[in-house]
């Protein structure tokens, strides 16, 4: 019998209940990706890639759903931003008929999605992530700060900057 490979032993092994984990967390992640990207193949790809990364990460064995969800939110937010950057300017999907929690303001979310798509190339990923979480997903600044592991002050600063950019963009479009 050969000794087990130290290299492989050091890697996370697919948890036998990965499919259970996927069933438990996939619907919210999919809903989040669709809020930002629409119900396109791109959002399905992001969902898939997010769970591939979850599988590779140590997070899959984490038992606290809040920790897993925070990781998934962080990861799929950044992956979605990558998609938006590739996609350039496109008209965001109408979310009028989409079920949204009461914390998500439809008008603000719609405007934010348009601004995020338009500014994707010009704005830092961190600022975009804050905008996605606070403006599209309706997270409080404290929730976003906790999730992104930055201070609430940093979130506020980035959000102020993003809102200023959105106002400028609005003016630019209206003129």
């Amino acid at each position: 019998m050969h000794a087990p490979s130290y290299a492989l032993a050091a890697r996370p092994v697919v948890p036998p209940d990965f499919s259970v984990l996927y069933a438990r967390f996939r619907p919210p992640v999919q809903a989040k990706c669709r809020r930002l990207l629409g119900g396109t193949g791109a959002s399905d790809d992001v969902v898939q890639e997010t769970f591939v990364r979850l599988w590779k990460a140590d997070v899959a064995s984490e038992e606290n759903p809040r920790v897993v969800m925070a990781w998934l939110y962080r990861t799929c937010t950044r992956l979605s931003i990558d998609v938006l950057r590739d996609r350039k300017r496109t008209q965001p999907r109408d979310l009028t008929d989409e079920p949204l929690p009461c914390g998500v303001d439809l008008a603000a979310s719609t405007e934010a999605r348009a601004a995020i798509a338009a500014l994707a190339d010009a704005v830092s990923e961190d600022e975009l992530a804050v905008a996605v979480l606070c403006r599209v997903d309706g997270l409080s600044q404290l929730e976003a700060a906790t999730l992104l592991e930055v201070s609430e002050r940093t979130v506020r600063r980035m959000l102020d900057r993003f809102d200023e950019r959105t106002r400028s963009l609005r003016k630019e479009l209206s003129s």
Binding site: M1, H2, A3, P4, S5, Y6, A7, L8, A10, R11, V13, V14, P16, F18, S19, Y22, A23, R24, F25, R26, P27, P28, Q30, A31, K32, R35, G41, D45, V46, V47, Q48, E49, F51, V52, W55, K56, P65, R66, V68, M69, A70, Y73, L79, D82, P99, L100, P101, C102, G103, V104, L133, D137, G138, L139, S140, E143, L147
Partner: protein, 216 residues
């Protein structure tokens, strides 16, 4: 609970199975949050296969990157995986040598091969490799008796899955795979020779895998 609830808070609440408490009390009185949670319930009822474990958006590969070639290679069931030379051995290597590990996706589950479970048609297989100091790895399979390259690329920096998966077909007969780690690119006759010799010297490390398949 007063005030509005974020998607994150509701998502965690849903993933926790909606335990009783302030949030559930809010949901009872909030039509929008109730509707949102109902949409998650409906989404959960729809079937969504567990994702392929090796496709990478980052690599910008097309979605159909899963190799259709394997339907012609007749890579079939039965993941009896043996190192070719000698008796059945563990499919992982020892310290300092390249190693390969096989994962099987079946019925929306992904499991590491346990050295006993046979594979079935339509199983999806992924190879997880550790390359040690080798910069390149080739995966080859015999097509009409000739070793044919299925994958040829740089080794991942760390031990991880190669960026493709193999689908088991329903053709009869055992199939074979060869993994060739090397310092220099290897193709054609030199690749076939190295595999046939099960070479493990001069910058080349070969492991061949026999895969038996059975009906489900």
């Amino acid at each position: 609970m007063n005030g509005h609830i974020s998607a994150f808070a509701l998502d965690v609440h849903w993933a926790e199975g909606r335990p009783p408490g302030d949030l559930e009390a809010h949901v009872a009185t909030c039509e929008r949050c109730r509707g949102y949670l109902a949409s998650l319930d409906a989404s959960a009822r729809r079937e969504h296969p567990t994702p392929r474990i090796v496709v990478s958006l980052q690599a910008r590969r097309p979605r159909n990157w899963v190799l259709p070639i394997f339907s012609t290679i007749a890579l079939a069931a039965g993941v009896a995986l043996f190192v070719k030379a000698g008796a059945p051995r563990e499919y992982v290597g020892t310290k300092g040598t390249p190693a390969v590990e096989l994962f099987i996706e079946r019925d929306h589950r992904i499991d590491r091969w346990d050295e006993r479970t046979p594979v079935h048609p339509n199983d999806r297989l992924a190879l997880h490799v550790a390359c040690e100091d080798f910069p390149r790895v080739v995966v080859a399979a015999p097509v009409s008796g000739v070793w044919t390259t299925v994958f040829d690329g740089p080794c991942p920096l760390q031990s991880e899955a190669l960026p493709f998966s193999l689908t088991v077909d329903d053709q009869p007969g055992d199939e074979h795979l060869a993994l060739v780690w090397s310092k220099e690119p290897m193709k054609g006759a030199s690749l076939a020779r190295a595999i046939d010799e099960r070479r493990r010297q001069r910058g080349v490390w070969v492991t061949t895998l026999d895969l038996k398949k059975t009906a489900p």
